[in-house]
């Protein structure tokens, strides 16, 4: 038997593994913190970062959108997009809250039916059921009806917001039970975010689900040819994204101790921006939960930095817009550079 050998890689020297985009985001985060720290000492004569209260407010503020962003991240990695998250937060918040009211409030929505002071598990399950339905519909539309994800989830974004507004004709719902409040009290949102982030990091790294999510986002045709049931997988991806949006809605409601129909407006864009800033590629196949978490912290630092420096709130939205566009521009540039490098 003749032995022959081929050494692949002599033609083009194999390149080192690229600079991970998460590292870029981390550097950005550190630069921002240092910047605000310096400005803080110059303008306010105090530290920005080394302030326990400010830090805890900063992290709890972004943690809710962070939970949403984890769901959005895995959708983007699969090559799709989910614009419905913010509205799903609103719908979940309203419907769940109506089952979480305390009997101390005489005008509670379901007081006649006696559905007050219910155990915490009931509003949670109802809220998650609402979010599950929204995610499932997104998934069915994208995977089986073959509607582009942008359009399908845009439809859900409008519809779910409609549900949130219709539910009480726009009236807020308040007076939750103490046990429900506890879900959003103190640093609870942060712990919930951390738990979800760790679980999904592990899922994306070590399970079939993760591997197939990256594979579909990377080359859907190849994934299909390899025998992956792309439709079923995408259905799962969008349903999970819906569930995480619902969880974000529940935490936000508990933290605010009220539900408002306009909860979560533009949060879907914040979530997408967090992911993209953290190195998740909008063309799919690349990114990580860690990156999104860093993106989330960048958001947190910017907003609490602006408040700290008493910058007018209007500027915040302008900067936010610039960050979103900047992050996508960065993503495009990265892709172009990578395409040229091959």
């Amino acid at each position: 038997m003749k032995h022959v050998s081929a050494v692949a890689g002599t033609a083009a020297p194999s390149r080192r593994k690229g600079w991970p985009p998460e590292l870029n985001a981390l550097i950005g985060l550190i630069v921002l913190i240092v910047l605000f720290e310096i400005l803080g000492w110059i303008l306010k004569d105090q530290s920005f970062f080394f302030n326990k209260l400010r830090l805890s407010i900063m992290i709890t503020q972004v943690a809710v959108v962070g939970i949403l962003a984890i769901g959005v991240t895995q959708v983007i990695i699969s090559g799709g997009i989910d614009l419905s998250g913010g509205s799903v937060i609103g719908a979940t918040s309203m419907i769940a809250m109506s089952f979480a009211q305390s009997s101390v409030f005489p005008r509670a929505i379901f007081i006649e039916q006696g559905w007050v002071d219910l155990p915490i598990i009931i509003p949670i399950l109802i809220g998650l059921a609402v979010a599950f339905t929204a995610g499932l519909i997104n998934g069915l539309l994208v995977a089986y009806v073959k509607i582009p994800p942008f359009i399908a989830t845009l439809g859900m974004m409008v519809t779910a917001r409609g549900v949130a507004l219709w539910y009480t004709q726009g009236q807020p719902i308040s007076f939750p039970t103490d046990s429900f409040k506890a879900m959003g009290a103190g640093l609870m949102p942060v712990w919930i975010f951390l738990g979800i982030a760790i679980i999904f990091t592990l899922i994306l790294k070590f399970t079939l689900y993760g591997k197939h999510t990256y594979a579909i986002g990377s080359n859907e045709a190849a994934a299909r040819m390899s025998g992956i049931n792309v439709e079923r997988h995408l259905l799962l991806v969008y349903t999970i994204a819906g569930l995480l949006a619902g969880l974000a809605g529940l935490v936000l409601t508990a933290r605010s101790q009220t539900a408002q129909a306009l909860f979560g407006v533009t949060n879907e864009l914040d979530a997408i921006a967090m992911a993209v800033i953290g190195g998740v590629s909008l063309s799919g196949g690349r990114g990580s939960i860690l990156g999104t978490a860093i993106g989330m912290l960048i958001f947190g630092v910017i907003f609490s930095g602006f408040i700290f420096l008493s910058v007018d709130a209007y500027y915040q939205n302008m900067v936010k817009g610039a960050i979103i566009v900047g992050a996508v521009a960065l993503d495009q540039w990265r892709q172009k550079r990578q395409a040229m490098a091959v």
Binding site: S5, A8, A11, A223, G227
Partner: protein
């Protein structure tokens, strides 16, 4: 004739009024490497697509491994043991080498349905073994396909066919997009497959490559097989004559 791995009888494909493939009778024995040649649009790829179930034939029979088969899709063909390396590589650019080799048939450490935990060690070891079988050396298996050269990618795509106990490998112009050195690598893999006794159908336009690698050359012209030539009994000029239509095999007289 138990040593015949693939046989087609009267294989025909019409696209509406276009007769892309007419009455193709073809035979491939175990361990044999056969090249399919012909001009563009001669029916080479159409022929392969009918076998692998990418398209459904108009009529005719495909007998694979002694059984008549009709694959509903390329996946079914693959499960039956026919591995195809396509012109456009079916690889996921953002995954590493073992992930691509095992895409869709991952090794599982712990079964949890869609959230099953992957056996990375097992897949890496099997990948190394497969690369050894095909004599491919890829420096860093953990590297993503995106960071590899065209030749390395093609090697991964081919190694994939060798990872699983395939009964027949089909390559559709595997070196069409590659440079000289990379082509040599792929050709070495094909020689290794020959040495391992794995049957192969090679679609190629490269005369030198075909004469270097295969035992037999089948020429297609305008949807028909016009020649079935043993390598030793023919030469490049002869093959070109069949491809262009200057000559037609005696047994295929009606095809002219």
């Amino acid at each position: 004739m138990s040593d015949v791995i693939l046989k087609t009888v009267g294989l025909t494909k019409h696209y509406g009024g276009l007769y892309a493939l007419e009455d193709a009778d073809f035979e491939l024995r175990k361990g044999e490497h056969v090249a399919i040649m012909g001009d563009n649009g001669a029916g080479k790829s159409t022929f392969v697509r009918q076998i692998t179930g990418v398209e459904q034939r108009t009529r005719g029979k495909v007998i694979f491994n002694g059984e008549e088969v009709a694959f509903s899709g390329p996946l079914e063909a693959r499960e039956a043991g026919i591995e195809t390396v396509y012109q456009n590589l079916a690889l996921a650019d953002d995954l590493d080498v073992p992930s691509n080799l095992f895409l869709g048939r991952e090794k599982i450490l712990f079964n949890l349905g869609p959230f099953s935990i992957l056996d990375f060690k097992g897949m890496k070891a099997a990948t190394e073994a497969a690369l050894k079988r095909t004599a491919v050396k890829i420096p860093n298996l953990g590297n993503t396909i995106r960071n590899m050269s065209g030749g390395q990618r093609q090697c991964v795509a081919i190694a994939r066919t060798a990872t699983f106990a395939s009964k027949l490998i089909i390559m559709d112009e595997p070196t069409a997009a590659l440079g000289v050195q990379e082509t040599a690598q792929v050709e070495n893999i094909i020689r290794q497959l020959k040495a391992n006794g794995e049957p192969l159908i090679l679609i190629s336009h490269n005369m030198r490559q075909v004469f270097d690698l295969v035992d037999r050359i089948v020429v297609f012209r305008r949807g028909r097989i016009v020649a079935n030539l043993k390598k030793e009994e023919t030469d490049g000029q002869d093959v070109v004559a069949y491809i262009t239509g200057a000559k037609t095999g005696i047994e295929y007289g009606d095809a002219a």
